[in-house]
């Protein structure tokens, strides 16, 4: 261990930028890696050093362990930060980094392995007296055995791929009639996605809330929690809006969940930043869902509320330093909300909508933070997750944070890719969101694509387009712009005319 001078960041996009920023603040040099289309990506531009690691497909670049280790060696890096996604939760990567004599900014490969295998994780959690959802302790191969267990725990049940994640290979079955077909599709999806068609069965929690607890562990055996994040607003089992604290739990439940999260992390000798995810039912019972053994996408809301820089803490912990704060000094102050800005079309089934960013206007002002991985002129490619940035608003109260977020969303402009800004406004204005009456089925049960558009269309759009079309026609006809007030704007009009002429 010892000090860290130069960190290779085995990731891209906004999280790579986030790590580069923390490195620079600590006086640590950063080494970026980039695939072909990412030569001009923001993370490549911001790092101290940048090395090419292959073609666009992640399997040939960001997931190539030998290439990454080779770059680390050539660049003289002494540590590797995995970010989230990609190799961040692959124990063989953490192990390879360690064996190459480098520091892995994260937990041990043993901890990743224990928590990455859902069955093993569940076994360890039961042993550590962490509450888990009733269900099978082992993955089940035979359908008959599934049927038998389902009779014991009762419907509804959730079928989950043994090696799954991100919502793949998960099926909710409400009644006996749907069991056979649910099992068949869960197995086939699990087989194609993970090469393993075993599933495990658990009691489904109806209208659950997804509430997770941030933990930090150091190499001296200390583990603390930094309270909760509510991540119930999800589409296709992926989070889009998160907040901290959660309205759903009282102080007693909050403290209990924190203590259990620390127990869970200690059970695997956890080091670094990690997250214990819980399902919380309508009676505030909470059950261990899984542990994410890495930094989370939504970590900024915890940072805003607790004042602890989690990525900085990761780097300091990796360098062998003790935790930056004691448990008693961690307090939640105010409220923070995160909206993930995705290049996707909420009016078209949230389909990814990549493209070149022609205009990017990002909100600023009191309590607003935009953790972005893109810039104006950047081409959002189809090869990676379509997240552009994470917009975070902090307020003294939940109401203030919500109002501030709506204000920030109003200022957020992305031209080119379709983004989900209007969707976020819809969600934040929804009476159920305002009341805090949310669960993981919120979007599926409340959202209809036609809700985003005001009735009767938008005359402002029509007026703007007609004026732009007129100016395009005038510039094409070679009409000299008139003198006076109009001459300066006209020169910019000409630019629109020319650009569109090239395009049209």
């Amino acid at each position: 261990m010892g000090s860290i001078r130069r960190v290779l960041i085995a990731n891209r996009g906004e999280i790579a930028v986030r790590v580069i920023r923390a490195c620079r603040e600590l006086g640590i040099e950063s080494v970026a890696v980039y695939s072909d289309p990412d030569r001009t990506a923001l993370h490549t531009r911001l790092a101290d050093y940048a090395f090419h690691i292959g073609p666009a497909a992640a399997a040939d670049s960001y997931l190539q362990i030998p290439k990454l280790l080779d770059v680390a060696k050539r660049a003289g890096a002494d540590a590797v930060h995995p970010g989230y996604g990609f190799l961040s939760e692959r124990a063989p990567f953490a192990r390879a980094v360690r064996e190459a004599g480098l520091t892995f900014v994260g937990p041990s490969p043993e901890a990743i392995e224990a928590m990455g295998d859902k069955v093993e994780a569940r076994r360890r959690m039961i042993a550590a007296k962490v509450p888990v959802v009733p269900g099978s302790e082992h993955p089940i191969e035979s359908d008959a055995e599934v049927e038998k267990l389902v009779r014991e725990i009762g419907f509804p049940v959730m079928l989950k791929a043994a090696g799954g994640g991100g919502g793949k290979g998960m099926r909710l079955v409400h009644e006996q009639a749907g069991l056979a077909s649910g099992l068949r599709s869960a197995r086939s999806e699990a087989k194609s996605a993970f090469g393993d068609d075993r599933v495990y069965v658990e009691k489904a929690i109806i209208r659950p809330r997804h509430i997770e607890v941030q933990v930090l562990g150091d190499t001296h055996g200390n583990v603390i929690h930094l309270y909760e994040r509510e991540c119930s607003i999800q589409r296709r089992h992926q989070k889009v809006i998160e907040e901290s604290p959660s309205l759903a739990i009282d102080q007693k439940t909050r403290e209990a969940m924190g203590a259990v999260a620390v127990q869970a992390a200690k059970a695997v000798d956890y080091v670094g930043a990690g997250t214990i995810e819980f399902l919380v039912d309508q009676q505030r019972n909470f059950y261990f869902l899984e542990m994410n053994t890495r930094i989370q996408v939504e970590h900024p809301i915890t940072e805003m509320v607790t004042g602890v820089d989690l990525v900085r803490a990761q780097l300091e912990i990796a360098a062998g330093k003790p935790l930056p704060v004691k448990q008693k000094d961690v307090v939640q102050r105010g409220w923070a909300i995160e909206c993930r800005i995705y290049a996707e079309d909420p009016e078209n089934n949230f389909l990814p909508a990549p493209g070149r960013i022609e205009v990017l206007q990002v909100p600023t002002g009191l309590g607003v933070r935009d953790d972005s991985g893109v810039y104006e002129g950047f081409e959002v490619s189809t090869f990676y997750d379509p997240i552009l940035s994470k917009l975070v608003a902090w307020g003294a109260t939940r109401e203030e944070a919500t109002q501030r977020m709506l204000r920030a969303l109003h200022e957020y402009v992305v031209v080119g890719p379709t983004v989900n800004v209007a969707f976020h406004c819809w969600a934040l204005r929804h009476p159920r969101f305002i009341k805090g009456d949310i669960d993981t089925g919120f979007i599926a049960s409340e959202f209809k694509p036609e809700m985003l558009r005001p009735e009767g269309g938008d005359d402002v759009a029509l007026i703007g387009a007609a004026i732009a079309a007129t100016e395009r026609a005038r510039s094409r006809n070679g009409g000299a712009p008139s003198a006076g007030a109009a001459s300066e704007p006209r020169s910019r009009w000409l630019e629109i005319g020319r650009r569109e002429a090239l395009r049209g």
Partner: protein, 171 residues
């Protein structure tokens, strides 16, 4: 105040068509008439794609891109697709929006996961025709129009490139 010549557009949207007349004024402002109602608009370009509009003192910012006669206007966080046909476009027969494209093309590279319709099937506009996995997600590709599936050019498991023709739907 001297005024320029009027620019007249037809804007088809759904089952109605609106008429828009724009008259640029000497002072840089515009008289905009929509279906007979006229407003004075102070419009300034604040960027290569951005217009600041003052409508009776109310400030609106819109962001524009265009492909031929179809303008994509970002207003209040939402993209609006506005078709504007001038006289020349109308004469050239680039008339109203048709019933929707006949061709279904891949909008991004991916892999065909499943076919939901077969050649000869009748499909309604918006009905799923095939499923493509791209960017880690399965996406149902919907029929752009009502009609009969004339051709399906791909098979499950096949990799497709952006822009590749997947299926054809016609009457």
């Amino acid at each position: 105040m001297a005024e320029g010549r009027p620019y007249t557009y037809q804007s088809p949207a759904g089952d109605q068509t609106r008429t828009v007349v724009v008259v640029p004024r000497e002072d840089g402002r515009y008289e905009v008439t929509i279906d007979g109602a006229t407003r004075t608009v102070d419009a300034r370009a604040t960027g290569p794609h951005t217009l600041s509009l003052l409508l009776d003192g109310a400030q609106h910012e819109v962001h524009l891109t265009a492909k031929a006669d179809v303008w994509t206007v970002l207003s209040n966080g939402l993209a609006h697709h506005v078709t504007l046909l001038d006289e020349r476009a109308r004469r050239a027969g680039r008339s109203k929006q048709g019933p929707g494209d006949k061709e279904i093309r891949a909008i991004m590279p991916g892999k065909v996961v499943a076919l939901l319709a077969e050649v000869g099937h009748h499909v309604e506009q918006g009905q799923g025709v095939l499923v493509i996995e791209a960017m880690k997600m399965e996406n149902e590709i919907k029929a752009p129009r009502t009609g009969t599936v004339q051709e399906i050019r791909v098979k499950p498991g096949q990799a497709v490139e952006a822009g590749e023709l997947l299926a054809v739907i016609d009457d």
